[in-house]
């Protein structure tokens, strides 16, 4: 019965969203909210399980079992949270730009929802990156904060995340907010390569990349492997969070649609008694 609501085809009620035509090819196969809920519902427990398992291995490995650094001592363990958060801040924003492209060009209905639910999680990851970096900077560099190109561009990235989260919620017309958010996401995407290459283009206090460089990684394997496991774990947890939020948003919208439909039906004479109560929720 639930699926019949969202199936494409002739139906009496207006669709929950400007649902795309079903013959859109692979891109629009997941545009159907019912299919998305079914598929993601099947994936979600596995995603959560994998995230818990990977973090359960990676965090104790990195925070307790891995060796200290020759010059930074145990402070280097901040890296096992800081670096995954930095990667998620940038990778997540790249994902936001992809949803913006899907939304602006193909008018993909789920892309807007995903973008709306992605930005608070991305902002939290960026905040974690800044906070852990500051805690790392004080004992090692001797300062909580400097205005070098890397730190400043990450702060700009944080404001872009916050700005997107606020902008898409600032419009009464959700679709208009989503359009504005998509444009902001694409404009802000120019900052992602600046964050990444700031340490190569300019003199910065922050050191250059250790893992993603052309020659061998500048980390000993005893430090590199737990870092990669932590990064995978945090990425899976990030994805699980965004997926859960998007699912909740789809279901919320479906409830709203049902309530509006019930309210419409209540206005028609003849079937008032039952639906009137449902409609009361809207008032």
């Amino acid at each position: 019965m639930e699926n019949a609501e969202t199936r494409q085809g002739p139906r009496p009620q207006p669709p929950a969203a400007p649902a795309a035509a079903p013959r859109g090819g692979a891109l629009h196969r997941f545009a159907n909210p019912g299919r998305f809920l079914r598929l993601s519902g099947r994936v979600q427990p596995w995603l959560i399980g994998a995230a818990v398992l990977t973090l359960g291995i990676g965090l104790p490995w990195g925070l307790f079992l891995s060796p200290p650094d020759y010059q930074q001592g145990d402070t280097v363990r901040i890296m096992y949270v800081h670096v995954p958060m930095a990667w998620l801040a940038m990778g997540g924003y790249t994902g936001l730009a992809v949803t913006a492209i899907l939304s602006l060009i193909w008018r993909h209905p789920l892309a807007d929802l995903a973008a709306r639910e992605l930005s608070p999680v991305g902002a939290a990851a960026t905040a974690m990156c800044l906070a852990t970096g500051s805690l790392w900077g004080k004992p090692m560099w001797g300062t909580w904060w400097v205005w070098d190109a890397r730190l400043t561009s990450v702060l700009v990235l944080f404001f872009l995340w916050l700005g997107h989260a606020a902008l898409v919620r600032a419009f009464d017309d959700a679709e208009r907010g989503a359009r504005m958010g998509a444009i902001l996401a694409l404009v802000g995407a120019v900052n992602v390569p600046i964050v990444k290459f700031s340490v190569d283009w300019w003199n910065t206090l922050h050191q250059p990349a250790s893992v993603t460089r052309l020659n061998a990684p500048g980390l000993h394997v005893d430090i590199l492997y737990p870092l990669l496991v932590c990064a995978l774990g945090f990425t899976l947890a990030f994805m699980a969070l965004v997926l859960a939020r998007t699912r909740a948003a789809v279901m919320e919208r479906r409830i709203r649609t049902l309530q509006i439909a019930a309210a419409r039906r209540a206005e028609e004479p003849g079937n008032a008694p039952l639906d009137a109560r449902l409609a009361g929720d809207l008032a």
Binding site: P68, W141, W147, I194, L219
Partner: protein
């Protein structure tokens, strides 16, 4: 399909325009985006005296002396080098833990008329190498790396070195 293609092109053109505008802006502000200047930059184009700027480089090996000023305050003297040129620096505060010969530093201060840089702040800068102490010891013992001379050798030579037995390996 036609509308989608048109939106794709509009977006692509906007992206190219925005990208090149950003690239041009960043190139124009290149000098202001630099967090510190190297000793070679100073030698080429010395800033005006009484103008504060940041000087960055490696602490030259064997150049660090800790003295006391006439009024009894500790003062560190060292030279900051980038390989080609070196600038003498004096600093009267607490040095960061990572400060040592061969380590990267960024100092904020003013260049005196005598060519000595008087720093009011010294920040340590570490490179992108991370290794267990045993591996660092092994590298030092085998003569592959003298930390006082600067950065660690190419990572491929040590990043899979076994760290458990603290024995020198070649």
């Amino acid at each position: 399909m036609n509308r989608k293609r048109r939106r794709l092109w509009v977006l692509l053109l906007c992206a190219i325009g925005l990208g090149s505008a950003t690239a041009l802006t960043l190139t124009a502000f290149q000098d202001n985006l630099v967090f510190f200047r190297s000793p070679s930059d100073i030698a080429r184009d010395a800033p005006k005296p009484d103008r504060a700027f940041r000087l960055g480089g490696l602490v030259e090996g064997g150049s660090v002396t800790r003295e006391s000023t006439p009024d009894g305050r500790p003062e560190a003297r060292f030279r900051v080098t980038d390989g080609a040129t070196a600038v003498p620096v004096t600093y009267g505060g607490v040095l960061p833990d990572l400060f040592r010969e061969g380590q990267g530093v960024v100092t904020l201060g003013k260049l005196g008329p005598d060519g000595v840089f008087r720093a009011s702040e010294v920040l340590a800068r570490h490179d992108e190498s991370y290794m267990p102490p045993e591996v660092a010891d092994a590298l030092k013992r085998s003569g592959h790396w003298n930390p006082n001379q600067g950065a660690a050798p190419p990572a491929a030579t040590w990043n899979t070195l076994e760290s458990a037995p603290a024995r020198p390996r070649t």
